[in-house]
Symmetry: C2
Subunit: 305 residues, 2 copies
């Protein structure tokens, strides 16, 4: 799977993914109004507004990008109706040829992680039938429970040609509280990184492993060290734009050949129309604003590579 | 919320919860056959079998126990259909007066954790309407992202009178890989425990805090230390029975008054009929086997308290 992502990044010359993390606040009033007229101010109404919003953004950006990263929490908050739109979004993106990275940060003890792997990137046996549930291409995974909590995801990557990104160093302000604490003189995130390399060796796909790492854009000095520790690990990099990371901050996440990282932007793309310089598009043309924001983000990142 | 749980534990004299983690393998053939006849060997067929299985177990155990702990992964693997049965199970248990602990181990950066909190224990605003999605009473939470990833859950606990259990020391074999590593001479799980206490101080409800901790039954020496570090924190204790923890192992999780912990058993209860001494009930009477297993588990734990 990671090789497919690399090829799509090379083809689009865009090492980015669009974070489809729709908050109701991001959605222009005209879409909400229409959805609420049809389905009421209900979970279904909210989900419908999200779906129409996503669809327009995908329609206006799919040809520029290799991948999208829907954050499942934003759908889960609208319950079953929200998750139906998550599923619909995954399907629609895959029909457009996009690689879908489900941002779910799942992780549990062995048998439960196996069920999560099945849910999101695997298949489930029902009687004589082999079926799949959310069937995203890649998934983010939380490592706090150790190897037996991550291994089931790696097994599914190997069986179904899928990929994962394991949280190593996250982009949020308090990520250092546990992740930066020193163990034998080295921060915890470096130990996690070494495990990611070890897990990844069993799932190589070309130059890189199907077992990638989440490395926040907001801590460039740490990215530099992690890049060296994990030469064959692809980085999924959150934190660009709205969270404060700049293109210069991202540079250490990449290898010298310009590969090795895919940078996510969510709010900065999908809610671009709400802020200068894209507010000139206005809420009616929100998806055109998103397209322009993608073009600008790609240019900004390629400038430093 | 935690006070409500304590009262229910005192009333039932059963400091346990039943883990509603249905694997298809656990479900007797007659239930699967019926469900597949009605809905085919489909995700809906599998979900229906799970629902009928859950319902019988709840009907046969609800009067003996204070709470259930459905593991959402086991439903998520059947996609939307599975999650509809998760929702139905939550509703049904709450109608029976049971406290429902959603075992979801969610956790992310601040705004995303807020969405997960909304999804599982909170409410969401849709236009003028305040709605809720999965509305469990309590939720398990992963702390790897630090305070700003946990705080949104605590805020919802305070707003909606709900509770969480934060992963501190998990029951699985490789939990020590990161959790036991020494930081300034003390294991990571102790640092997490101290944070749990700190977060919990803002959400006291009687003697205990709405911010609880997950502490595995499989490491009794560690439980003893954690019990002292977190005197006002309720422990959710997995690992009894099938995972190897005995009643003696559990004792250190409790305070001297016999409170302070709720012990989960999943396979040992819901799949009791598959193993001696409960196999005498046979697959036809699987739910009666579960009832007997609950009675035996309660007696076993009360014996050491």
């Amino acid at each position: 799977m990671i090789n497919r992502l690399v090829q799509k990044i090379q083809k689009t010359k865009a090492p980015i993914c669009v974070g489809l993390d729709p908050m109701l606040d991001y959605i222009p009033d005209q879409l909400k109004k229409k959805a609420f007229e049809e389905y009421g101010e209900t979970l279904k109404g909210a989900a419908e507004a999200i779906w129409q919003f996503n669809k327009e953004i995908i329609d206006h950006t799919w040809d520029l990008i290799p991948a999208v990263k829907p954050q499942i929490a934003m759908y889960e908050q609208f319950g079953i109706e929200g998750l139906m739109v998550y599923q619909k979004t995954v399907d629609y993106c895959q029909q457009k040829g996009l690689i879908v990275i489900g941002d779910a940060k799942r992780g549990d003890i062995g048998s439960t992680s196996a069920a999560y792997a099945t849910a999101h990137i695997g298949t489930v046996q029902v009687g004589s039938q082999t079926l799949s549930a959310f069937h995203t291409d890649m998934l983010t995974v939380n490592p706090y429970l150790g190897t037996d909590g991550v291994k089931p995801f790696v097994d599914v990557c190997n069986k179904e040609d899928k990929g994962i990104f394991v949280l190593v160093k996250t982009s949020n302000p308090s990520s250092g509280e546990f992740q930066d604490r020193l163990i034998d003189g080295r921060p915890l995130y470096e130990l996690v990184a070494e495990k990611v390399v070890e897990w990844g060796k069993t799932s190589m796909d070309g130059e890189y492993s199907n077992v990638g790492a989440v490395v926040g854009a907001t801590y460039p000095e740490m990215s530099r060290i992690l890049r060296k520790l994990m030469p064959n690990t692809y980085f999924l990099v959150p934190g660009y734009g709205a969270q404060g990371g700049t293109a210069e901050d991202l540079k250490p996440c990449f290898n010298e050949d310009g590969l090795g990282a895919i940078v996510n932007s969510s709010r900065g793309i999908i809610a671009a129309y709400k802020k200068a310089p894209y507010d000139k598009f206005g809420p009616e043309h929100f998806a055109e604003a998103s397209r322009q924001a993608v073009l600008d983000m790609v240019a900004d990142i390629n400038r430093v590579l």
